[in-house]
Each structure stands twice: as structure tokens, then as C-alpha cells.
Amino acid sequence: MYFSTIGELIAMDGHGSFVWLAYGTTVLVLLVNLMATRLATRKQESALRWRQEVAALQQQQTNNTTEQNDS
């Protein structure tokens, strides 16, 4: 490791604030992109799943009512 102690790693003889600022924003940008996509996908998938459940439910009810009419 180039730096002997963690303290030195943080300080990076004076340039630390710039380096960590740049890396911090990078991590932030990548995470925001990652999370935004993942959340939106989950939301869309649950919406689709819910739509199918409603459809299946209605299917269920139409079957029940047709059975009552026959019997």
C-alpha cells in the first residue's frame, strides 16, 4: 500500500479533500442511477402483478356467478 497509515490515506498529503470529493460524487451518481432504475423496475413489476391479480380475481367471480346461474 502506498500510504503507511489510514490517516495518511485520508489526508493524501493535502489533496485528500479533492480526491474524496470526486470519488464521493462518483459513488453518489452511480448509486442514484442504480437505485432509481431498480426502484422504478420494482414499482412497474408490482403494478403489473397487481393488474394480473385483479384480472384473475374478476375471472374468478365470473366463474362463480356462471356456476350459480347453472345450479
Binding site: H15, G16, Y23, T26, L30, Q44, E45, R49, R51, A55
Partner: protein, 263 residues
């Protein structure tokens, strides 16, 4: 042999037309890119931050290069990708082309902004100023505006098909202009001040300096692959929401017993 290759390529081309096939195929691509991106970025960061030797002139602030250069490179290739998608979209009217443009935009804009920001943070200790009118910085800024232009255009048109074709045309026109703008800015810049420190003269750097850079660049490309593909899959789910194959994909396994008892 070449007959079968062109046949399979043609088949691939037709398959690209159907979002369903694309949705299924990219499932493990997305996962693969995601894992590779995580590994490469982690290794690259640790290597670049802690193990790479500092630059004899700039000291440790050069470590920002491991973030700045990949962001700039990937944002440019994303813009080029949008240009290609635009061309395909305009000529063959493929739905996937517009899905690709819509999926690449957010990541492209954020990476270009990141490249500009990290560049100026890097410039501060090295050149003593937050913003340098260097050829590359200005052309990256112009690319950001080209990105925003496409984004604004997509927001302004409601009708899907027209929005797709308009965005395709603008990204194509933009891609043709990127080299022109880049060259004229470089020409104008060298007129005013000598070409300042060039960021990516790979051969001049010792191996232990540019190896982490290579890892980071690959990591960024894998992340872009992961992000763009998953956004495309999301976009496909949105656009194909009421098709049969999506319905089957999310069909309720079995109607929960509790509901049937009450009805």
C-alpha cells in the same frame, strides 16, 4: 460457413425487432454486467486510491483521473451509441432503438456532468482554477447541452412514434457534429493557450498507474451496460404492459384462497 453466419445475423436482426426476445435474452446479461461492474469498480477504486504511486508533478490529486477519464469516455460512447440507435430507429423504424435512446439518456447526462465536475475538482489543485477553457472541457460541456437538447425534445413531444423519430434524428445530427465541435474547440483552444496537460497519454504513464485506469474504465463500461440494459427492460415493461407475453410473465400464480372465500 459464411452463408450460415449471415443467415444467423439476419435472424438476429429480425429478432431484435421483438422486445419480448430482447427482454428474455438480456436477463442474464444484466446480471453478468452487474457483477462484473461491482468487482471491477471495487478493485479499481482500491487499487487507484491506495496502491497506485502518486504523480511526481501533481501528487495525489491525479487519482481523480481514475474517475474522471472513465466517466468522460463512457459518456461519449453512450452518446455515440444513441447516434447509432437513432440511425437504426430512423431507417428501420425499430421500437428497440427508441427504447435504447430513452434508456441511455439519464446515465449519459449524469456521467457527462460527473466528468465535468470531477474534471474541475481535479483542475483545482493541478491548474489552480475550477474551470479551464481547455478543448476537451468545452466539448464535453457542449455534449452535455446536446444531451439536454434530446432530453428536452423528448419531453416536448407527447405522441410516442413522433417523439421516437424526432429524438432519433436529433441524436444522429448531434453525433455527426460531435467530432466537428471537438475539433473546432481544440483548434480554437490551441490558438489561445498552449495545449495544457493532456489527461490520457497512456504510454507515458508507468504501468502501475494506468493499469488501475484500465480496470476502472472496464468497470464503468460494465456499469453502463448493466444500467442501460436494465433501463431498457424497464422501458419495455412500460411500453408492452398490456401485451399477452407480459401478462403471462406476471400472471398471478394462484388466486390467494382468502379472497375467493369471501366472494
Amino acid at each position: 460457413m459464411s452463408g450460415s453466419v449471415t443467415a444467423s445475423l439476419k435472424q438476429l436482426w429480425h429478432k431484435l425487432g421483438s422486445p419480448r426476445w430482447f427482454y428474455q435474452i438480456t436477463r442474464n446479461w444484466v446480471r453478468g454486467f452487474g457483477v462484473m461492474a461491482a468487482v471491477l469498480l471495487l478493485v479499481g477504486c482500491i487499487w487507484g486510491l491506495a496502491f497506485a504511486p502518486p504523480d511526481y508533478q501533481q501528487g495525489n490529486s491525479f487519482r481523480i483521473m481514475y474517475v474522471h477519464v472513465p466517466a468522460a469516455m463512457v459518456s461519449q460512447s453512450l452518446y455515440l451509441g444513441m447516434g447509432v440507435a437513432g440511425f437504426i430507429g430512423l431507417v428501420w423504424r425499430m421500437k428497440l432503438a427508441d427504447v435504447a435512446i430513452a434508456a441511455t439518456l439519464p446515465l449519459g447526462i449524469s456521467l457527462t456532468a460527473l466528468a465535468l465536475f470531477s474534471g474541475s475538482v481535479w483542475g483545482r489543485p493541478t491548474w489552480g482554477s475550477w474551470w479551464e477553457w481547455d478543448g476537451r472541457t468545452v466539448s464535453t460541456l457542449v455534449m452535455l447541452f446536446l444531451y439536454l437538447g434530446i432530453y428536452a425534445l423528448r419531453e416536448a413531444i407527447a405522441e410516442a412514434d413522433l417523439r421516437a423519430r424526432a429524438a432519433a434524428l436529433v441524436s444522429l445530427v448531434g453525433t455527426v457534429n460531435i467530432p466537428v465541435i471537438k475539433y473546432s474547440v481544440e483548434w480554437w483552444n490551441t490558438l489561445h493557450q498552449p495545449a495544457s496537460f493532456t489527461l490520457t497519454e497512456k504510454p507515458a504513464m508507468p504501468a502501475e498507474m494506468w493499469l488501475p485506469l484500465l480496470v476502472m474504465v472496464l468497470g464503468f463500461y460494465c456499469f453502463a451496460g448493466h444500467n442501460v440494459l436494465s433501463r431498457m427492460r424497464l422501458e419495455i415493461l412500460r411500453r408492452e404492459a398490456n401485451t399477452r407475453w407480459v401478462a403471462e410473465l406476471f400472471a398471478a400464480k394462484s388466486v390467494p384462497a382468502s379472497i375467493t372465500k369471501e366472494s
